[in-house]
Amino acid sequence: MAAPLLKVDNLTVRFPTTEPVSRLSFEVGEGETLAIVGESGSGKSLTALALMQLLPRSAKIPNGRIEFAGRDLFGLDQKAMRNLRGREIAMIFQEPMTSLNPVLTIGRQITEVLTLHEGIRGKAARSRAIELLNLVRIPDPQRRIDDYPHQLSGGMRQRVMIAIAVACRPRLLIADEPTTALDVTIQAQVLDLLDTLRRELSMAVVLITHDLGVVAQWADKVVVMYAGRKVEQALPGALFRTPLHPYTRGLLAASPRLKTNLHYRDARLTEIPGSIVSAAGEKGCPFRPRCAVARDSCAHFVPDLVEVSEDRLVACPYSFIPEVAHGAAFGL
């Protein structure tokens, strides 16, 4: 097998009083879409910032390694990292309005990247920017290039962010909740665009999201995070057919779905009790306080990730017990 494009190995991010990412490992192959799914507080966004080396100063990385295209990112000096960032690894964020500069035209914001990384200026930069707007399917790009961000809709602004991100044809795009602020109709358009660009530019995508449907439709591989740890990893089909970790099972059971007849007059939704903060500062499995199948032993150790089959990892020793696997406790 070819070496992965990105290899995160045993990464920990620590703040003075908390550890929002703990011993996280995953790999992304060339041209592959990896989804990292989790709720607020799962550490998924901090993982993205760690990949970009944009963590706040108070964050420490006591252990772990991030290897990108064979290079150790922590071994790079600031200049080399700045060179890599935007050119080889790019990132888009949830809220395109706050990530774009409101007082510069979108054309200026795209050409800035081209000038910085590729030394393209003037007319050449402008025509390349128009090409990029075309690439992200913005209608009438010759006119739109002189617009300011506030003149565009949310979906169009996210397209501009994507144009800036792919301006230098990066090999890896990190998309942190790229469609959370958008309507489903626009979300479908933006995800469709991201996937088309992934193929056309042979770029890998790390898609960070809380939306299981998005994962199911667009990911090649899924990492489920809870309280800073990877609790399950699978191919999307397997994850949705047979979720193994009690958290994944709980999430799937808790989500109302369009294609089911589940209705409030007949059945309650299955809840995951409590919230992600309930485990803060406690020993043992971080999901234990909310887990429907927790046992006494779960309070004593953090379960290791175990490979249960090819491409399948789970961090719960009780996810193999038949009654658990049948999901009786989850109403599945």
Binding site: A188, D195, S255, L258, K259, Y264, L269, S275
Partner: protein, 315 residues
């Protein structure tokens, strides 16, 4: 008689570049004990419709009858009395609670405004409601920042229910919450409905949530209702191309990497397309659609659609 009956309601705003027709001729009813779901994209006017029904925004035209009384023409004193029976739950549990007031103050305020009970009685009502929504009594002395998003939404629900209303307008009540918390809040809303005999107008952009939570569904597009049907009918035999597109846009494991069902953005409510409002994005649009606005007509009992090409349902 329906609990809430809205007829030909419009809410237009004056804005640079001409009138903004946020709500543009909406008629709907909510029966006693019913949950009516209202779905549509941002900018379709669904929140403005909710706020107009609450009388937080003045309507430009039309009638809002609550228990048979037109609340658009009431004076301030009688409006206040009517409002006791219509309450609202907001989307953002962070922005909708005053950070300087304790939970006790927040919950007592509506009782004071409506002159309910003496101090001891109010205390009793507040303690009762906070327990009903699943929070401990000692929450009352604490401030909003001490609670998580899900807990704050419980406080917002307690505030909406404390006056014992008949109708609650829920504006995206679970959209800002994590998936694992959404189910908790939806279950709480179901429990409250059962225990207190509530009716809901449930505004949401999330079709899956409406699928679970509504008895009847209205689909709104650019200020108008384009389709309405009971819950089971709408999801199994949708007739309007917009409803179909919305459903197809919901991510689904069965449709790996499928192209987006509709293109383009919602047009501006300041510049509503001629004829059928949806024709600029509709895959089936013809010349008829570009020139003539379709009537909102019945295709089956209780199932109405505003599309020239919607076929009646055959039995």
């Amino acid at each position: 008689m329906a609990l809430l009956s809205v007829s030909d309601l419009s809410t237009h705003f004056h804005a640079q570049g001409g009138a903004l027709r946020a709500v543009d001729g909406v008629s709907l009813e909510v029966e006693r004990g019913e949950t009516v779901g209202l779905v549509g994209e941002s900018g379709c006017g669904k929140s403005t419709l909710g706020k107009t029904i609450m009388r937080l925004v003045d309507p430009t035209g039309g009638k809002i009858e609550f228990n048979g009384i037109d609340i658009t023409v009431l004076d301030a004193r009688r409006l206040k009395a009517a409002r006791r029976n219509i309450q609202m739950i907001f989307q953002d549990p962070f922005a909708s609670l005053n950070p300087r007031h304790t939970i006790g103050d927040i919950l007592t305020a509506p009782l004071k405004v409506h002159g309910i009970g003496n101090k001891a009685e109010r205390r009793k009502i507040v303690e009762d409601i906070i327990e009903r929504v699943g929070l401990p009594r000692d929450s009352l002395g604490r401030y909003p920042h001490e609670f998580s998003g899900g807990q704050r939404q419980r406080i917002g629900i307690a505030r909406a229910l404390i006056l014992n209303p008949e109708l609650v307008v829920c504006d995206e009540p679970v959209s800002a919450l994590d998936l694992s918390i959404q189910a908790q809040i939806l279950n709480l809303l179901v429990d409250m409905k059962r225990q207190l005999g509530l009716s809901y107008l449930f505004i949401s952009h999330d079709l899956s949530v409406v699928r679970y939570f509504a008895d009847r569904v209205l689909v709104m597009y650019l200020g108008r209702i384009v389709e309405s049907a009971d819950n089971a009918t709408l999801w199994t035999s949708p007739k309007h191309p917009y409803t179909l597109a919305l459903m197809d846009a919901v991510p689904d494991p069965a449709r790996r990497r499928q192209a987006a069902p509709i293109h383009g953005d919602l047009p501006s409510p300041q510049n509503i397309p001629s004829g059928c409002r949806f024709h600029t994005r509709c895959p089936l649009a013809t010349d008829l659609c570009r020139s003539q606005e379709p009537a909102f007509r019945a295709v089956a009992p209780g199932h109405h659609v505003a599309c020239h090409y919607a076929e009646p349902t055959l039995n």
